[in-house]
């Protein structure tokens, strides 16, 4: 195998004109990914981007890699077939809140619990963009949209809680306003063995502009985003003056560090086997208008599905030899007619 060629962002961009609305958050996510790829030590020909349907799902067309723009919600299922048969490939799934959590909810949770080797980037803009502005499974309750002129009645999903509940081994959140953070999280997700799930808060400036502004705008970030750093006490604010403590009943609460002392803060451990604390962290904010944790919620090791599938084959072949079809055809009762 030849050495991995040195590449630049340009090598990872396809010749197709990018067609998202001007100002869409998808542009900055694309840029973050294209700029990160040369640093990952991977080959273009061994990289595959798959997607379903939606604005986010156009992503593969813009990557100069192998790509498959499939049908609504099904990308994790299609990626499962690819990733389990081609362990040599880097498989990325780009999806949105409607694609992954509505029509494709079933495939998402099963890909996560099986721990199939794929990196899932969920662009969450809390709206249906491609179909021009209906509410999505992550839209806030009572949202007024074209399909809910009297307000939506659906309680939204919390994607991080959902992924944790689906036994995901890697769960993280980032947002489209911070390229550095995105790249750090995408790199971690890529390097994770098994299914990695990343929620990316993404602004749809046409149908849901400013959905995350209260927490992701430059001024708000320090007081509204809670960075999760493995092994560190969970604290935030310009001076780190606020922090997270756990109450005796298990509840997490945001406090002034000065009041409780640094030792009282919860120390973040993304490798905890029990997902309970990660789940509690995912519930800390009721929505993107309260202080919200970002970063890696959970990163644990568990056997990867495709590898286990291959192992069963190797074991069977060690035990029985490579399958002999002539012998198999004769494995039942046979008789000979002269």
């Amino acid at each position: 195998m030849t050495a991995i060629p040195v590449t630049t962002r340009k090598d990872w961009a396809s010749d197709q004109e990018v067609r998202w609305c001007p100002g869409c958050g998808d542009y900055s996510i694309l840029a973050a990914v294209q700029m990160l790829m040369p640093e990952l030590g991977v080959r273009r020909e061994s990289t595959v981007f798959l997607s379903g349907i939606g604005c986010a799902a156009r992503f593969p067309y813009y990557m100069n890699t192998y790509g498959l723009h499939s049908i609504h919600g099904r990308a994790p299922a299609i990626a499962t077939g690819l990733a389990t048969t081609r362990p040599d490939l880097d498989v990325w799934v780009v999806t949105g809140d409607g694609d992954a959590l509505s029509i494709g909810g079933n495939h998402l949770i099963h890909a996560l619990r099986r721990n199939v080797n794929m990196t899932i980037l969920l662009f969450n803009n809390q709206i249906y963009g491609l179909t021009k502005g209906q509410y999505s499974p992550t839209s806030e309750l009572s949202k007024i949209t074209k399909s809910t002129p009297f307000g939506s009645l659906d309680t939204p999903f919390n994607p991080i809680s959902l992924a944790l509940g689906a036994e995901a081994t890697f769960v993280a959140r980032t947002h489209d306003m911070d390229r550095g953070h995105m790249q750090e999280i995408f790199r971690r997700a890529h390097d994770h063995k098994g299914a990695a799930f990343v929620e990316v808060y993404q602004n749809c400036n046409v149908y849901n502009d400013g959905a995350f502004e209260k927490i992701t705008s430059r001024d708000a970030r320090s007081s509204m985003l809670i960075p999760l750093v493995h092994g560190q006490p969970i604290r935030f604010g310009a001076e780190g003056e606020r922090g997270v403590v756990q109450r005796p009943d298990g509840r997490l609460e945001i406090v002034d560090v000065a009041e409780v002392g640094e030792d009282a803060l919860v120390v973040h451990d993304e490798t905890r086997d029990d997902p309970g604390l990660a789940f509690a962290l995912s519930r800390l904010a009721a929505g993107p208008y309260e202080p919200t944790p970002i970063g890696v919620f959970r990163a644990v090791e568990r056997p990867e599905y495709g590898e286990e599938m291959s192992r069963q084959i190797v074991r069977a072949q060690e035990r029985l030899g490579v399958g002999d079809l002539d012998a198999l055809l004769r494995s039942g009762s046979t008789w000979t007619v002269e």
């Binding site: 396809s14 273009r44 061994s46 100069n64 499939s70 389990t84 081609r86």
Partner: protein, 624 residues
């Protein structure tokens, strides 16, 4: 063990035996063992397992009756038989549910122990048919199977309740004596199958021997019978069901193409046995994936195909509905994909364990947009092996999803199969793209994923991993050659036509449909799929009456073989029997403008030869 020599052994050309009992009575196992020992004797045979959808319906009720019919003969036969010569009924419900199929004069062997008042009432009998003279048209043998089994098992220390479960082996022993089947293979099989549980093995062995001896010694039967070996072509044979043949055909095709097999499936009756069989075959490098749903099953298979594997999904009607969108995607992506539909009675959940051919138009047209796919349809259980290879060959050569239509009757039915010479099978060339196929004006080599092979009109298959061939494909309409997204109207029509012409062009490579012609024939009987046996037997009977009939049967339903138009126009009349309300007949009428007549039956069971014969007589019998 001596074979029955005390009395006469009469020769029979053929016999149809139907074993019927409660779902829990092991009738499928009993029938299957009788079939195997008949195969070992060298009889031709055809089987029809007929069981309820419920796993365990209440014991002793009509709903819980499970039956297995087997037809054995000293010559080639085509169907499991129109009517049983012998019905073995383990309880009143089994008798009541099946007596309607049994013609007068036939033999009934009943487990008289089960004909108590409660069981009679459960089966809905107000009086005991064994004593009320209602069975006077039959030769009835009342055998106390339960008590005799319990008695022989007692000596081995088996409790009566446990021994009762072995009574099906008593019945098997008795019928084995009646038809002079060899006993050793069954005894060996019992030892192997129940070896882990010596008490059960002992009870079954004792019950089987007791049944055999009962036939020999009880002064009940005046004779026993022999069905001599049928004349088979020389070769090595095994007995095979359609689902097993299909699974093995996929293994063979995977080897012929040098493509690892990936099966993405969701459990569904009557297709699950293909998933089970392939799941056991890891040493062949098979990856089986029990998906979260039907959609994921086909999706994963398509993903595997994108990666350069042989992607297969297996299902039945309800699953085919769910897979439609992904099949449409595969049509657009132009990737090889095998979709096996083991048809059952529909619509909706319908009749899960019964056979029907009513998914043909679904396979043809059940996708939005112009989305043609080739359709392959095996005619007998063993031909499922060949159909699987044909389907893979078409899928790989033409980069297209292929639908293989089996059905519940083929899936579970068994027949003798002459083992093929695997080395004689033609390899399948996946012909993966390995280098750029285009040079830009500026001299840069490029890979265009939608450049077509001039012969097949197929596009290149370029799984990830090859530098320089990176490309993006998807469900949106693609520009000719480049595969880039295109909304251009002219381009869309061009692409729709490319895809249609590609599938239509397959006809050039298909073998002509063979016609079993008779000079002066006024009628062609045309069929597809599992009706082959009944149609052929019905045509033979009509010919025996002196009627001039031709017969043809399709193995490929889409596209039609090139000579089919000429064939259907050659005869004044065309009859198309189908287990649906007339689906092939619509296609034939539309395609060739011939006045094809439909013969339809939708009862979840195959045609009987007599029904085909009657229809032929009705159409041309009067003309003689």
């Amino acid at each position: 063990m001596a074979t029955g020599t005390r009395r006469e052994t009469e020769q029979l050309e053929r016999v149809v035996v139907r074993f019927a009992g409660d779902s829990g009575d092991g009738m499928q196992l009993t029938g299957d063992r009788f079939t195997t020992s008949s195969a070992l004797v060298g009889n031709d045979l055809s089987t029809f397992p007929d069981f309820p959808a419920e796993i365990r319906a209440p014991a002793g009720t009509l709903a819980g009756v499970s039956a297995f019919q087997v037809h054995i003969a000293d010559r080639d036969i085509l169907t499991p038989g129109d009517a049983p010569d012998v019905l073995v009924a383990m309880n009143p419900a089994a008798l009541r549910a099946n007596i309607g199929l049994v013609p007068a004069g036939a033999t009934l062997i009943v487990n008289v122990d089960a004909f108590d008042e409660r069981s009679l009432a459960k089966a809905g009998y107000s009086s005991n048919p064994l004593t009320d003279n209602s069975l006077s048209a039959y030769r009835v043998y009342e055998v106390p199977m339960t008590s005799l089994t319990q008695e022989v098992c007692k000596e081995a220390g088996v409790k009566p309740r446990d021994a009762e479960r072995s009574k099906n082996f008593f019945a098997l022993g008795l019928v084995s004596w009646l038809y002079t089947r060899p006993v050793e293979p069954t005894l060996e099989w019992i030892a192997a199958r129940f070896g882990a549980n010596p008490t059960v093995a002992e009870a079954n062995t004792r019950a089987f021997r007791a049944g055999y001896h009962f036939g020999e010694t009880a002064e009940l039967f005046t004779a026993n019978y022999e069905v001599r070996p049928a004349p088979f072509e020389p070769g090595e044979y095994t007995q095979i069901t359609g689902n097993q043949a299909l699974a093995w055909g996929l293994l063979a095709a995977s080897r012929l193409a040098g493509l690892p097999l990936f099966l993405g499936s969701y459990p569904i009756t009557p297709a699950s046995d293909i998933l089970h069989e392939l799941s056991r075959r890891k040493e062949f490098g098979v990856r089986t994936f029990q998906a979260e749903d039907e959609i994921a099953g086909v999706g994963a298979a398509l993903g595997a195909a994108f990666g350069g594997c042989l992607g297969v999904t297996t299902t039945s009607g309800p699953g085919l509905d769910l897979k439609s969108e992904t099949i449409g995607l595969a049509v657009n992506l132009e990737l090889p994909l095998i979709v096996v539909d083991v048809q059952r009675g529909g619509p909706s959940t319908g009749l899960p364990t019964k056979a029907e051919q009513a998914d043909l138009l679904h396979a043809m047209y059940g996708r939005h947009g112009e989305a043609p796919v080739p359709i392959v349809a095996p005619r007998t259980p063993s031909r499922c092996f060949d159909a699987a290879i044909d389907a893979v060959r078409l899928a790989v050569t033409y980069r297209t999803p292929v639908i293989l239509l089996s059905d519940g009757y083929l899936a579970n039915g068994a027949e003798p199969w002459r083992l093929p010479d695997l080395s004689a099978l033609e390899p399948i060339d996946p012909a993966f793209a390995s280098e750029p196929n285009h040079v830009d004006p500026d001299g840069t080599p490029k890979f265009l994923p939608y450049v077509r092979d001039p012969q097949t009109l197929a596009r290149p298959w370029a799984p990830p991993g090859v530098p320089g061939l990176e490309h993006r494909i998807g469900g949106l309409e693609k520009a000719d050659l480049t595969g880039n997204v295109s909304y251009d109207p002219e381009n869309h029509e061009a692409m729709v036509r490319w895809r249609a012409n590609k599938i239509a062009g397959i006809a050039k490579t298909l073998p002509d449909v063979e016609v079993d012609h008779e000079d002066g024939a006024e009628l062609l009987v045309l069929g597809w799929g599992s009706t082959y046996g009944a149609i052929t037997a019905g045509v033979r009977r009509a010919r025996a009456r002196g009627l001039k009939v031709a017969q043809a049967h399709l193995d490929f339903v889409n596209p039609f073989p090139l000579n089919l138009g000429e064939v259907v126009r050659r005869y004044p009349k065309v009859l198309i029997p189908e287990i649906n309300l007339g689906q092939l007949s619509r296609l034939i009428r539309a395609e060739y403008l011939v006045d094809a007549q439909s013969l339809n039956k939708v009862q979840g069971v195959p045609f009987r030869a007599g029904e085909i014969e009657d229809a032929i007589v009705k159409l041309i019998g009067g003309a003689r």
